[in-house]
């Protein structure tokens, strides 16, 4: 009898054999490269048969994570580098994003509080949405700092089947 993990793994890879699929995407973080890599990841998980809802959620979350790396962590880095890897685990896709940029302030993830929008037009927020979006759409969000790397890890749930 297959465990849940093995059943999901088989369906995840049903379109392409495991050794034919890239396990990770390494790139130089820039706005242009983020666009390109988001497309690569999207095509890859789409080909693997992941449900459309999870694909949309992943693209939204990953865009925010990668934009933060470009705009903050690696903004002043002479040789910035980022790597995305992912694999199914249980009923979710587990994603890991590593970058060689500066550490999170206080080595903590931002709280990402919801911002008031029931305010006069002139007071509407134009930014600061990213971490709230990330926190709302992910599970098991974790941050780790090694001697020279930031490592962000999170899960995106697959849709319930049946």
């Amino acid at each position: 009898m297959l465990s849940i993990h093995e059943v999901v793994s088989e369906s995840y890879f049903r379109y392409l054999p495991m050794n034919a699929r890239p396990l990770r995407w390494q790139f130089t973080p820039s706005e242009q490269e983020v666009r390109r890599v988001l497309g690569c990841v999207r095509d890859d998980i789409c080909a693997a048969g992941i449900d459309e809802g999870a694909i949309i959620t992943l693209e939204i979350v990953l865009a925010e994570v990668l934009n933060n790396i470009v705009e903050h962590a690696c903004a002043a880095h002479a040789a910035p580098s980022c790597m995305i890897s992912y694999a199914p685990i249980g009923s979710a896709l587990r994603i890991t994003v590593r970058d060689n940029g500066t550490p999170m302030p206080n080595l903590e993830l931002p709280a990402g509080k919801e911002q008031a929008i029931d305010v006069p037009r002139d007071d509407l927020p134009e930014g600061g949405f990213g971490w709230n979006i990330i926190r709302t759409l992910t599970q098991n969000l974790r941050y780790q700092r090694t001697s020279d790397e930031n490592i962000l890890c999170f899960d995106i749930a697959f849709a319930n089947e049946g």
């Binding site: 706005e31 983020v34 865009a63 934009n67 509407l124 930014g127 949405f129 990213g130 979006i133």
Partner: protein, 111 residues
């Protein structure tokens, strides 16, 4: 960032021809919106039918576009994809804008 516009009797429809409003194109989007809406009619409809994806920078640029319009002007949105609608809903910005499934029928075009 390419924006096209057409003006009807009392409304302007601005169509985004690129399929993403993201960090890379957000500033140009905001600047072009300002130029188009500056002396435009009170009712402005942003046609997002061709836009598959928006990130929080793109969302911020849409909000900024609203804020830089005159007090008598309103900004409505049309043709939101699943992803775009999700980003607006997550940030609750879907309550700030009037959102149409399709661009409303505005009668004949002044061109």
């Amino acid at each position: 960032m390419q924006l096209e516009q057409r003006t009807h009797a009392d409304a302007m429809v601005i169509t985004v021809t690129q399929d993403r409003i993201d960090a890379m194109g957000a500033i140009q989007f905001k600047d072009q919106m300002r130029a188009l809406t500056n002396e435009g009619p009170a009712r402005v409809i942003l046609d997002l039918t061709g836009v598959d994806f928006i990130d929080s920078s793109g969302l911020g640029a849409v909000v900024a576009s609203l804020k830089q319009m005159r007090a008598d002007q309103c900004l409505e949105l049309a043709g939101l994809s699943t992803t775009v609608e999700k980003v607006f809903r997550l940030t609750r910005m879907d309550s700030v804008f009037t959102i149409h499934q399709d661009v409303p029928d505005l009668g004949t075009c002044n061109a």
